[in-house]
């Protein structure tokens, strides 16, 4: 048993993270898993303290919830709108209308994003932030449970 670590590669990753000021990096290739985290706060305080994890544990991997591919823009995290109730998701006010919002749209706080029908009532779900709509998680007419992600919004910084 011997360690086979490609230090050049890891160094390159860390350098890239420093350069781009990334807080988090994950890579998975052929059963090898690398996770690197950098504490941005301390990084900004001129004391970089990245956290690095390399693992090949495939078992754990299979239990992970799939990681959503997230478009990273600047330093801001995405804001998720989740369902406050159980019901049926409608992306438009009625079948003949266009959706309330589409990916890439700018959305304003309190703007209606969708309708969730519960107990025959139509509940308008509003945006909680100003920003850009990055993702819609549910298809029109599909059921949603409590806490399920509906939209990802890139907030205005």
């Amino acid at each position: 048993m011997s360690l086979k670590i490609d230090y050049k590669e890891i160094n390159k990753i860390i350098r890239l993270m420093e350069e781009k000021n990334l807080s988090h990096f994950e890579l998975e290739v052929e059963g090898l898993k690398i996770k690197i985290g950098r504490n941005l706060a301390s990084a900004l305080a001129s004391e970089p303290a990245p956290v690095l994890e390399v693992s090949t544990d495939t078992q754990e991997k299979s239990n992970n919830t799939p990681v959503e591919p997230i478009p990273q823009e600047g330093k801001n995290d995405l804001y998720y709108i989740t369902s406050p109730m159980v019901g049926t998701f409608y992306s438009a006010p009625d079948p003949s209308s266009p959706p309330f919002v589409e990916i890439g749209d700018s959305v304003k706080k309190n703007q209606t994003l969708c309708i969730i029908e519960a107990m025959k009532l139509m509940n308008e779900i509003e945006s909680e932030v100003d920003g850009t709509l990055m993702k819609v998680f549910i298809e029109n007419g599909k059921p949603v449970e409590y806490g399920q992600r509906l939209f990802a919004i890139q907030p205005l910084s």
Binding site: M85, M119, Y146, G147
Partner: protein, 453 residues
């Protein structure tokens, strides 16, 4: 018959209902709050829906979410279990409006039984004796004084809207009625939003005896032999047995007949339990009726070799009651409620179960949603398992239960198993000589011997 049942509950009773439904060939939908994501009922149902956060009022008590969950999963029936919405008459009514069958009694019966005064009046009409007093809900202390004088001390104060021990106070003489009345009012107000109380005769050496009832939608009602539930602490049942060591066959028949007739009189449907206090001269007094399946229903199933939940589901689907009126109680069964709590202080002990090994073998039944490494959420009740023993005689059932508890291992959390073992070894308990005061005296004795020791 239905095609899919949504179970509006969690824990062992949700699992109990999932099993029964599946045995009837029905699909099941579990609902769960966020901390119950990894609970066994969530994992073992055919479908699962998150209905809200930890707080019960926003999840297991959230009628809109429950109805929507049934609608989006196309469930055609809802079983409420016990607790949560099981006795809320609005729930069956909303189910009906939404075209979903509620597996339980109609809202009208819940409303009747939910109002303790109306229930007592109705039961008196049905020839069931009620405890002197009671029919006297009041918020006024001077009115209460007059009633108490008429009934005669000791009396007990109970919340008119209540249940579960909240707002209950025993008053032994006129001199402390005023103080106790005010405390009980505050408790009742806090628990049920209604501070009216009723007063009733407080019985000596009383036993808590209850009769299981099941009725179909065609007017057929069956009443079954008694459950002895006098082993209670602060009105919380701890250990139940059937038959009661106090009740002979003649009295059993009389009680069963009286309850059958009363249940028939009000057109009782689905499962229900009529609770009585029985004094040492075998006089029985109706206390209240619970319009749902009872936690302790397994002991009745054991001695009658029946499945009450399957029968309840079939009846809700419009089937005729299939249980024979000739059913005879056979053997003796005991249930111990294993709670995640300190056996001495009763302080709840939620947390992670590090290791779990349940008993098995002849005459042992375990109803539990616990599993190895399960993190018990602190948000709900502390019931970890119901361990049920059955044997031909009471003596053998007690021994079987002791051995079963001794061979049970639950680590990582505290449980009340040591308390159960102490009760099962108590000489009065073994003789069957106990009443609803048993636990109070038992704990006083344990505490004082601990202090001495």
């Amino acid at each position: 018959m239905f095609s899919k049942i949504l179970i509006a509950n969690r824990g062992e009773i949700a699992l109990r209902i999932i099993r029964a439904a599946r045995e009837l060939g029905l699909k099941t939908v579990a609902v769960f709050s966020e901390p119950d994501k990894n609970s066994l009922h969530t994992m073992l149902a055919d479908e699962k829906i998150c209905i809200g956060p930890a707080k019960a009022s926003e999840s297991y008590l959230n009628i809109p979410n429950l109805i929507s969950a049934a609608e989006i999963t196309k469930a055609d029936a809802i079983h409420p279990g016990y607790g949560f919405l099981a006795e809320n008459p609005r729930f069956p009514e909303i189910c009906e409006t939404s075209g979903i069958t509620f597996i339980g009694p109609p809202g009208s019966i819940m409303r009747l039984m939910g109002d303790k005064n109306r229930a007592r009046q109705e039961m008196e009409k049905a020839k069931l004796p009620v405890i002197p007093g009671g029919d006297n809900s009041t918020e006024d202390i001077s009115e209460a004084k007059k009633i108490a004088k008429k009934i005669g001390y000791p009396i007990i104060l109970k919340a008119a809207a209540g249940g579960g021990g909240k707002g209950m106070r025993v008053v032994r003489s006129a001199s402390n009625l005023e103080e106790q009345f005010s405390i009980a009012q505050n408790e009742a107000k806090a628990a049920f939003g209604d501070s009216s109380l009723y007063l009733e005769k407080y019985l000596h050496k009383a036993r808590h005896i209850e009769i299981q009832v099941i009725g179909d939608t065609k007017g057929n009602v069956l009443a079954l032999g008694e459950r002895e539930c006098s082993i209670q602490r602060k009105y919380q049942k701890l250990l139940e047995e059937t038959p009661s060591p106090f009740i002979d066959e003649k009295f059993r028949k009389k009680l069963i007949k009286a309850v059958h007739d009363a249940a028939h009189f009000i057109g009782y449907q689905s499962l229900g339990t009529f609770e009585f206090l029985v004094d040492d001269r075998k006089k029985y007094y109706f206390m209240e009726a619970n319009t749902r399946v009872q936690v302790e229903h397994p002991i009745t199933e054991m001695v009658y070799a029946i499945d009450l939940i399957k029968e309840q589901i079939k009846i809700a689907a419009g089937n005729k009651l299939s249980l024979s009126p000739d059913l005879r109680l056979s053997g003796h069964s005991i249930e111990c409620r294993i709670n995640a709590e300190d056996a001495e202080t009763f302080i709840p002990s939620p947390g992670k179960i590090d290791f779990l090994s349940f008993p098995g073998g002849e005459g042992i039944r375990v109803d539990s949603a616990a599993y190895n490494n399960w993190q018990i959420p602190p948000d709900y009740d502390s019931l970890v398992a119901k361990i049920v023993a059955k044997a031909p005689t009471r003596e053998e059932a007690i021994k079987k239960m002791i051995v079963a508890l001794e061979m049970t291992t639950i680590s990582g959390i505290k449980t009340n198993i040591p308390l159960h073992l102490a009760i099962l070894s108590n000489s009065d308990f073994i003789k069957g000589d106990y009443d609803i005061q048993f636990m109070e005296k038992f704990l006083d004795k344990m505490n004082s011997s601990r202090k001495k020791g």
